[in-house]
Point group: C2
Chain length 362, copies 2
């Protein structure tokens, strides 16, 4: 068994550990200390259950365990499917001392977290992320929620898990496309504020894509550490936490414009980061060489570096104006002054955005 | 214009004032200091809008105001109707700096508060309660949420308002039955821990029912002060805050058993308090004379002092077992050791509950 790596996310009384390693599913000693009551509701989806539910359950022996199995996919991340979790909790008479456990990717984690935040005004939850994307991103930081037909992640809450368990064995069954989507978020951490990590990724991108377990564990740990540091400094996204949205404003527009699920979140973020880089270049903040350097690992990871050909600049402008990063009518974007030098800015000529979008249209 | 009474609810950085008095609706100086951005969404219902919307709006001059008008009634306090608020916010492109303003009774307040707690993971809100019940109860303490077909208030969040404005003029148009329902909660504060206030209520119950403005303002202020003190000591209901649920476990069973809306919340709480008193007597904690003393103002306020004749003890036991006050499988109730001496207890023989329910059956 590989060594267990443990990170602590430092949020005062809401602090929690992230355990990363191989063979962690089913280890009761990693779970039991974080379960306050007797009732545990495992929330998962129809794809993950046949792969990992049996491996998880020995870790919950002695508890009163129930399951709710959701349909698989971003398009089910809505209020209607969320209600299936509430109904299961109420049908089984789960009380305020219960714990929800999310076994799955980002959609399962986000929905389970929001159900936990809002069931009886808040109960405990545990994240067991089974995709690379959720291991490096959505299981860290306490953002939970569901989509609305008029905007992604528009309904939700900040709610921190008790513990996160990232078992790298679950990546064995991950489809190639989802591995790539996870790599997009890994690359993001390098771009934001960790040039060392970005350089490491340039060297190891092929090994990561070949699913080298040691390299993956290292990438997950460094990504979580980078994210945890940013979240610890700004839990409720009053300021610097918004750096984590690099590529996301463009990316959300792509996801909404194409319909949820057509592009994976990580794919949209990949294209979104390439677009943010090009716009930074347009503003004179990033060299042409750095743009190319950013594109290179994205391409090696099989990620798009441009928006879908069907989307027009006008569509982008409309979709981006409902994004959460709009404050007081002004669009704020995460842009780059060099690799590892991300910043949040609303202080750019509208023309810079427009010509970036036009350039990708050609 | 009557004197403005102001109470402060002391919750650290989440502290907020409650203003009580006549002619407060439409006073911009009470609202503007508590609105952070430019966008204000007034949430109300089809009954309240024709009565008070025009009186409110001058208080919001200079802001970008939109309205969403919900159907009136407890049966609409659900996820589906909540979605109308989210949709209105998104349609009008409201961002994270927006403020939601609840103009109406407890249902409007609870739903608006939960929409504010969960829209973009949390925005500001203001309570302008227009019923006696919401002025003394649901506008104080930050409990927000919606019902689920399987249980009342099962989905929600703790989210404190920026300010509460209780204009006693809005009570002029309150139906008699809703005035009574509000009085039930007023009596509750006396019973919990304020024998002085209960004695004052015994003397003034007729004047309150005759809608004497001065007496109503006094009753609202004392009720809010009592509730604010309990909430300040225990914001998230880890312990003593549960005292506020006196009469509510029985009451929720009545509301669920009869179908939401058949009995008003305050009516169910009135009967619930009489039932809690009888059970306390059954346990030897409360004299027969005190039971009668508790029933008297309830009767004068036109409130029920016994459960609906159609409900069986078995139905009560089943419905009470899904209540939020159940912990680790044990039902906890708020009971009375004397008037003004409420306590939370799970330490009673099951037979005491059963024989109380049986006694009311006859």
């Amino acid at each position: 068994m590989a060594a267990l790596r443990t990170l602590n996310v430092d949020l005062g009384e809401r602090s929690y550990p992230i355990h990363i390693g191989s063979g962690l599913l089913g280890q009761a000693d990693l779970l039991a200390p974080f379960i306050g009551g007797q009732q545990v509701m495992v929330v998962s989806n129809e794809t993950v259950v046949p792969l990992y539910m049996e491996r998880l359950l020995p870790g919950l022996q002695g508890f009163q365990v129930q399951q709710v199995i959701l349909p698989d996919g971003e398009k089910y991340k809505n209020l209607e499917v969320l209600d299936q979790i509430y109904s299961a909790l109420l049908r089984h008479r789960f009380d305020r001392t219960c714990t929800l456990l999310a076994l799955g990717g980002g959609v399962v984690g986000d929905m389970t977290g929001f159900a936990a935040a809002s069931y009886q005004r808040g109960v405990d939850f545990i994240q067991v992320p089974t995709t690379l994307l959720s291991q490096v991103d959505s299981s860290v930081g306490g953002k939970t929620g569901v989509n609305h037909p008029l905007g992604k992640n528009m309904i939700g809450a900040f709610h921190q898990p008790q513990v996160v368990i990232a078992d790298t064995d679950t990546l064995d069954t991950l489809p190639d496309r989802e591995l790539s989507a996870g790599i997009a978020e890994v690359i993001k951490y390098g771009l934001i504020n960790d040039l060392d990590f970005f350089t490491w990724l340039e060297q190891h991108i092929d090994g990561l894509m070949a699913r080298d377990k040691g390299l993956l564990a290292e990438a997950i740990e460094r990504s979580c550490a980078d994210k945890a540091a940013i979240v610890a400094a700004d839990e409720k996204e009053a300021g610097q936490r918004a750096l984590l949205n690099l590529g996301h404003t463009f990316g959300h527009a792509i996801e909404t414009g194409m319909g949820y699920g057509a592009w994976l979140h990580g794919e949209a973020v990949g294209a979104g980061m390439a677009m943010a880089a090009r716009m930074s270049h347009e503003l004179g903040w990033l060299s042409e060489a750095d743009c190319d350097r950013i594109d290179a690992p994205l391409v090696k990871a099989g990620l798009p570096t441009r928006p879908p050909s069907g989307m027009t600049p006008q569509q982008f402008l409309e979709l981006m104006s409902v994004d959460k990063k709009v404050q007081g009518g002004r669009l704020r974007l995460v842009l780059l002054k060099g690799i590892g030098g991300a910043l949040i800015s609303g202080d750019f000529p509208a023309q810079a955005l427009r010509s970036t979008l036009d350039a990708f249209q050609q």
